[in-house]
């Protein structure tokens, strides 16, 4: 029995196609999989392949190239012998032909096209519409770059007073607030003569190798003082005051996202050059968001330096559960009375905030005093 060859649907919304011409001649032997005719849809021209075998019969009134045909129209037949009459055929349309190559018709909607390239949450798109933001231009911060609500809101900050609170900001806020609530902070300030420190650093500079920053020098001096005054390095815990097993010191680092405090391990064991290498590496990682959570955990003391911003004295907030934090001010030249003479000297103001729950004022002052002595006399050290 003759099997009719019909016009297939090439896409879900296709209703008609344009006949592109036969690829085989009347009487040709067709094997399953052979391409039989071309059909043009709105999207593309496809070569239509046969699912059945037989001899191709093209009726004399069959379609001509350029004819527009409705889906399901019979264009020809496959017969088992050329003598077979062509009257038969329950249109077995779907079984007869298939698209030669798998073609997915691109959906019409623009938003669907966009989906393929940029993932975004429904909420982000809703907020984008509300705020008039072109979300397709944004870079997403979610998993695999998905655009989230925060990305859309961040894009509007230039015209919106409310800057979105990032999780990072919130973490800092929670920790600051917790420290403020849970410690009994007292700040002591004093001024030290830094002339010897400055000239010492100048010597280190000329010696070559990594040059320690002033912060590095203070970290080293503080580590030394902590050995004499370990309670300033204690942690407040419910189980009791925990003295440091190792002098690990945090350094406050200003990054684009906010404050980070990476910790330098076992400072007394490091030479000044090693220390300088370690801190510059930590600072670089902090500024490029490559710190791990281990890098910021477990310090016994923190050093923060605002001197480069022209700040002299301030009241740092304790990095709980640590006991204390040392704020370093600007180093600048001031007239100093030495004996009966007035001399220009480099001076620095140090601000120590400590938790009065852990230590009292006098021991804290003694610690600060020992730091001052070390600053003024680095050679002894």
């Amino acid at each position: 029995m003759a099997i009719p060859i019909t016009v297939p649907r090439l896409g879900w919304n296709m209703e008609q196609g344009t006949f592109g011409g036969w690829l085989k001649a009347d009487g040709d032997r067709i094997e399953p999989g052979d391409r039989v005719f071309a059909l043009e849809s709105e999207k593309a021209t496809e070569e239509i392949e046969s699912l059945d075998g037989g001899y191709l019969r093209i009726p004399p009134d069959g379609p001509k190239p350029g004819d527009v045909l409705a889906i399901g129209v019979v264009v020809g037949y496959l017969v088992t012998s050329m003598d077979e009459p062509l009257t038969a055929a329950n249109p077995k349309a779907a079984a007869v032909v298939a698209v030669a190559s798998e073609t997915v018709v691109a959906p019409a909607s623009r938003s669907l096209e966009k989906h393929e390239s940029t993932a975004s949450s429904p909420r982000a798109r809703r907020v984008a519409v509300e705020l008039g933001v072109d979300w397709k231009s944004l870079t997403g911060s979610g998993r695999n770059g998905r655009i989230r609500e925060r990305d859309v809101r961040a894009a509007t900050t230039h015209r919106d007073n409310a800057v979105p609170i990032t999780t990072f900001r919130r973490t800092i806020a929670d920790r600051m607030l917790a420290s403020h609530r849970e410690t009994a902070p007292v700040t002591l300030t004093t001024t030290a003569d830094a002339s010897n420190l400055v000239s010492w650093r100048a010597r280190l500079k000329s010696a070559g190798g990594p040059v320690p920053s002033f912060t590095d020098l203070f970290v080293k001096l503080v580590a030394d003082s902590l050995r004499l005054h370990p309670m300033l390095g204690a942690h407040w815990t419910n189980a009791g005051l925990r003295l440091p097993a190792s002098i690990d010191i945090g350094i406050a680092v200003d990054t684009e996202a906010g404050l980070l405090v990476p910790v330098v391990r076992n400072v007394p064991s490091l030479s000044l050059q090693q220390l300088a290498t370690a801190t510059s590496e930590l600072i670089e990682r902090a500024r490029t968001s490559r710190l791990t959570s281990a890098d910021t955990q477990g310090g016994c003391f923190t050093v923060t330096n605002l001197g480069s911003f022209g700040i002299d004295a301030f009241t740092p907030i304790i990095n709980a559960p640590q006991c204390a934090i040392l704020g370093i001010g600007r180093i600048s030249r001031h007239p100093a009375v030495i004996g009966d003479a007035v001399e220009p000297r480099d001076q620095v103001t140090l601000s120590l905030t400590f938790d009065h729950r852990i230590v009292d004022g006098a021991p804290a002052a003694r610690f600060l005093q020992s730091v001052v002595q070390a600053v003024e006399n680095p050679a002894a050290w």
Partner: protein
Amino acid sequence: MPIAPVNISLDRDLGLRLYRQMVLIRKSEEQLARAHQRGLVHGACHTYVGQEAVAVGVCAHLTSDDVVFSTHRGHGHAIAKGVSPFELIAELLGRAPGCSRGRGGSMHLFAPEVGLLGTSGIVGPCILQAAGAGYSFRLLKSDRVAVAFFGDGAVNNGAFHEGLNLASIWKLPVLFVCENNQFATEVPFSYSAGNPDVASRGANYGMPGIAVDGNDVLAVSGTVAEAVRRARAGDGPTLLECRTYRTRPHAEGMGDFGYRTREDVDAWKKRCPIQRLRAALTADVVANETDLNAIDSEVDHEVEEAYRRAEASAWPTAADAATHVYAEPRRPEPAVPPDPGRSVTWMQATLEALTAEMEANPGIFVLGEGIGKRGGNFRTTAGLFDRFGPERLRDTPIAERGFTGLAGGAAMTGTRPVVDFMFADFLLDGAGEVVNQIAKIQYMSSGRLKMPILLRGCIGIGHSAATHHSGNYSTMYGHFPGLRVVLPSNPYDAKGLLHHALRCDDPVFFLEHRELLALKGQVPEPAYELPFGQAAIVREGRDVTVVALALMVHKTLEAIEKLAGISVELIDPRTAAPLDIETIRRSVAKTGRLLIVDETFAPFGFGAEIAAHMADEGFDDLDAPIRRLNGIHTPTPYSPPLEAAAVPSVDAIAQAIRDLAAE
């Protein structure tokens, strides 16, 4: 204790009344058979032709206050109990004035106003429900009687065993009428019964069992008179076996001669109960042919008129398809006492609620194993036996299907049972009574019956209870229309929700996580109600919404303590059905992120349901995919490391929240 059938002497009025009732059933059935052939009966049509003497002989001794529970072949019982042919026919034609308002059809007929408390498409439950009605009548100190009609197919079913035993041990005023028509659908009783003498089985349960000729209405009536008298007098139940035959197929339109012969059917047609009474009446000259012919034509006219009216009746409106699934919700007492409360355990809090409600409502009684003198395995009824006595604190045999079905029958007839399963797992042997009967009765009766029943039991994984004492069935029962499912997470909620449950007219599952029973919390001493379907916002937050029930609320709180920098809003829906989707939706609108933590399995569950709602109603609020964290899809293991792996841990919850925040 064999009791001989009793024949009553022929009285003209009674004779004509019995005759008329039987003819009314026969003519109505014939009318329905014709309607079925014309395609006007939309579903099944199970006629009662040939068995009329049983329904009529039994119901002759019942008042409209007495109640009847029947089977899939219940047209005759309905008419004998007082349902009009019009209401019956209209029901089968699917019309609004049908006795079940178009909700039932042939197999689900309800007319509480005349004491027809339902026919059922399930074999067996009517036995338990009749026992439950009997229980109500005892508790309410009434002399009403309950009747269960069932076929020979029911007597090899567990409901028969459990129901007759319960009725016997509690001496309930019930008549168990077995209509032995010799085939359960098409399976011969002689094949399926080890002891085909049904009446003799009464002895197994310590009750009288009597066999009568079910085609002899006078024999049936005489025997029933004595059984009803015994029941009303408080002498307990009777089993009656009426041997009879249906002379039409199991259902209209079915072939009838694959399992029985035309000759057998013809022979039984000759023993027609109507012709038999007619012969007896005329032979005793109690009535003459003219009287009886007059009744025939009067009934003909009545049934034709009923049919005409039924066919002209309105269809039910589509808008009513889901009305009466639940009772009208009652407004709970608004005031929560200002009393800040004392710290008491969950067990104490719920015991206070149950005690107060039992004090206020003499219709409340408790059924369960060990809930009497012992006071409950989990002290759920401690001290109540001494206070309220054995009828209200009723220890049961281990027969969950039996006493659950019984409780359903009691709830329909004016009392409020509390079924204490100890562990919710145990109910599964009787789950059909809940799902097919208790959940559906309000709907099937179009709101004319209430189902105030509390089903309580422990759920939850912990302490190596292993798989038969640890199930959590909120998902399963929450799936079915007609049930309320409550899963409190703390003593305060448990007390308020239990008060509400004991005042609500719907069946309520009160599922208590075993790991929470000893949990203490601030609970006010006076009674207070918490309504169903109102979630609690346990903790407010901004970044992620977590929804959890029962123990998972506590685990999530612990997990939150481990998180820094993520602000979590925790919602406890408190009831799985109804589920407060609106509160969850509002929270997701704020946070954009949703995690559902559920101790039990994920597939088709509580979490899936919430997720589907949010993906739909909250789509534009979602800033991340919806996540579920569930127990693994396995029976609960015993060994601690295996058990711990089966449920969401605090760490897993914390990690799931972190992951979701990073999406």
